[in-house]
Symmetry: C2
Subunit: 435 residues, 2 copies
């Protein structure tokens, strides 16, 4: 049942009052994890630990219960009237990419804390526990190489982590395995694996995550808030290679060549066209080959390139589109292999399913925007988020995006505190009663 | 005037007899400049000097006059009846690329010496001096960075070297300037620059160079010898860049992106098609982007790539084709820039003119192949050679290619001595009387 208009206004004002706390946390996080213009908070590393210590202190200062789980995730709990009822949860992660921005992740944790502070200050007495989860290692793709399932902190809490990941994921900075890296943070990964999940679908009635938008849509549309309808799934090739033959770039006739770069360029151009076709049919898709290059130890201006390595990242809200693009890549590659005498090896495609956000959450979020007078649009999330892991185990889940200029994963993230306040009003409105 | 059939046979047999000398030189060169499977004879460095000393000794052993010029090139002279008449010259270079093959360069010097030995042994009394030039620093692109005109030894001898090159060319191994590197070889580069050219068009009636083929054409065509019709010119971009914008590869809609890799791939694919069009019209062209890549410090699987660096190497026997391809690159780039919101910067195109071999030489070479029963085809040279510098100052010039497997500039060069003997027969036939 939604709040009355008077309750809505009281809570909104209390959220505005809690912005001093939020700004203080953002400022101190930026200062104390500063690294060359941006911030660095390594997954299961120093910067992340510093952020956890700082925000947990603030939570204790607000009189919240603070606990942790075996994976090092923290929980700030505003107790509800029925302590045994499934809790309403919000949260996000406190790690960052190397030299990233101050808001990707931290905004969701700080917003949760500000919402809890506002609920306390406004005298809201929740029916059930309202918990903020400060999650570990969401940015693990930037910190751990090797085969792992991503979103390490939330997946560990939800029982989705496999024991093999503790060995297979290798920290890019320290060279330690994930297990060793967790142990170095004072955790006990063996106990983690031997124990039941910290959270199950029975423990959580709803998960809602506030996050900065990582793209330019809200800026372009001049809207402070986005109601996330889904998280794009992806299909990725991390270790793509085209193998041709290194030869003299003047003396070998074109027809005798096996040019890996021209073969690779033709493949990307074909995938680019298929992407345009999906979009022109009204489908949802983004596509990039973020890494593509010849071997600096082998290549030369005057050699036909014999090898190129590449990555592919194809994302869509629609699983059928991912399947279509993978099929396109494979059939175009086969044709290029036959014609050019090269070998195209995608190194296997990983697949991550799209997530459709809980329909009742989305409906309530739109209702909340109307009640609070917040201009908002529906939006797709291009990046993966911990919310999709909650969805995976069956927790009704959703996300609020806050307008942010210059994208994320860089030092220039630019979220206005006024937009953050609107997003936090919406979050508090959902946590206080709606869910 | 060509040799009689009887003279031709006598000379051919004498050439076969001189193969023992040639094989001995090849073996000793390979052994004494061995480096990790291949050979290393640094331009104006130790391996080159060792080769010069060894082959000059062999020339003296044959009773030839041996001289050098101020650039360190050596001349082995079989005196003619008229010592004042312009000489007939052959030759090639004795340096190699790092860990290169035994025959690229050395084959031409050894063939010249073997031809002189055969002429002496068969009692040929040439009308004019027949000179073998052992040239310095033809592989200078692999040894000296910085702005220089290439083919340093021959260009110095022919008066084509600019004084600034002595300062601008920096040896990759020693860090010395070209001038310092020459001085370390006991040469006097200042005196070289202050002196008139060692060779002018008035001093040389013809230059003919035997060289291994650097491509696969003679192997594929099953011909031991190629009559080189021209040396491809080239137009090159050494410092090409596409500048786009790094953004999140999931969150930024395709239409908001400025993807440097997709822009670069589209450019290369367009140039590849234009190359095919030139070939289908019967034109001569080869094209490669030997280096193409995103920045390892900036790129990521999950970032839209904001920059790619590339090289272009476009070669043709026809200058108009080079102009056409440059025009194609520039117009396609302008269209891509406008559509994708990226910047394509070729960093300036260098241009090296094609060289058309002397028509009378080519005619005589084909006639010689017939007289000697050597299966041969016309062939283009894709790589640059000292012969083009002789052509540049107006000396009628030509080249003989000898079949060679596995390309050149690598340890696996594979020239059969039987093919070399046929090429040397043709060279001796040209030197003895034809030119």
């Amino acid at each position: 049942m939604a709040l009355t208009q008077s309750e809505t206004e009281t809570l909104a004002n209390a959220v505005d009052d809690s912005m001093a706390l939020a700004e203080d946390l953002f400022d101190r996080l930026a200062t104390e994890t500063a690294d060359g213009g941006g911030v660095t908070r390594a997954s299961y590393g120093d910067g992340e630990q510093l952020a956890h210590d700082m925000v947990a202190d603030a939570a204790r200062g607000l009189g919240l219960e603070v606990t942790t789980d075996l994976a090092g995730n923290a929980y700030y709990v505003l107790p509800g009237r029925d302590r045994s009822a499934p809790q309403v949860m919000t949260g996000s992660h406190l790690d960052s990419v190397p030299k990233g921005g101050n808001f990707d992740g931290a905004a969701g944790v700080v917003a949760g804390l500000a919402a809890q502070a506002a609920m306390k200050a406004a005298g809201f007495d929740p029916a059930r526990d309202v918990t903020v989860m400060a999650i570990r290692s969401e940015e693990c793709s930037s910190w751990f190489r090797g085969r792992h399932g991503g979103h390490l902190g939330s997946r560990a809490a939800l029982g989705l982590m496999q024991p093999a990941e503790l060995e297979n994921a290798i920290h890019l900075g320290t060279g330690r395995t994930l297990g060793e890296q967790m142990a170095a943070c004072g955790l006990d990964p063996e106990k983690l694996m031997a124990s039941p999940p910290h959270l199950t679908a029975r423990d959580v009635s709803a998960y809602i995550e506030l996050h900065i938008e990582q793209g330019p849509v809200l800026v372009a549309e001049e809207k402070p808030v986005g109601v996330v309808t889904g998280i794009r799934g992806n299909t990725r090739a991390r270790d793509g290679r085209v193998l041709g033959e290194y030869t003299h770039s003047g003396a070998v006739p074109q027809a005798h060549r096996h040019d890996a770069v021209l073969a690779g360029a033709e493949l990307l151009t074909a995938l680019d066209r298929e992407t345009e076709a999906v979009l022109s049919e009204g489908g949802d898709i983004v596509f990039a080959a973020g890494q593509f290059g010849t071997d600096p130890d082998m290549h030369s201006l005057s050699k036909v390139p014999g090898e190129v390595r590449f990555t592919l990242d194809i994302r869509s809200l629609d699983e059928a589109t991912l399947t279509r693009m993978r099929g396109c890549a494979e059939s175009v590659a086969a044709e290029i292999e036959a014609r050019r005498g090269v070998q195209v090896d995608f190194g296997g495609f990983s697949v991550s399913q799209p997530t459709v956000m809980a329909a009742n959450h989305c409906r309530l979020l739109r209702e909340g925007c109307r009640a609070l007078g917040i201009p908002a649009i529906d939006i797709a999330s291009g990046g993966g988020h911990d919310a999709q892991e909650f969805d995976r185990i069956g927790v009704p889940s959703s996300m609020i995006f806050v307008r942010n200029d210059n994208g994320s994963h860089n030092a220039d993230e630019a979220m206005e505190i006024a937009d953050f306040a609107l997003g936090t009003r919406l979050l508090a409105w959902m946590l206080a009663d709606a869910l």
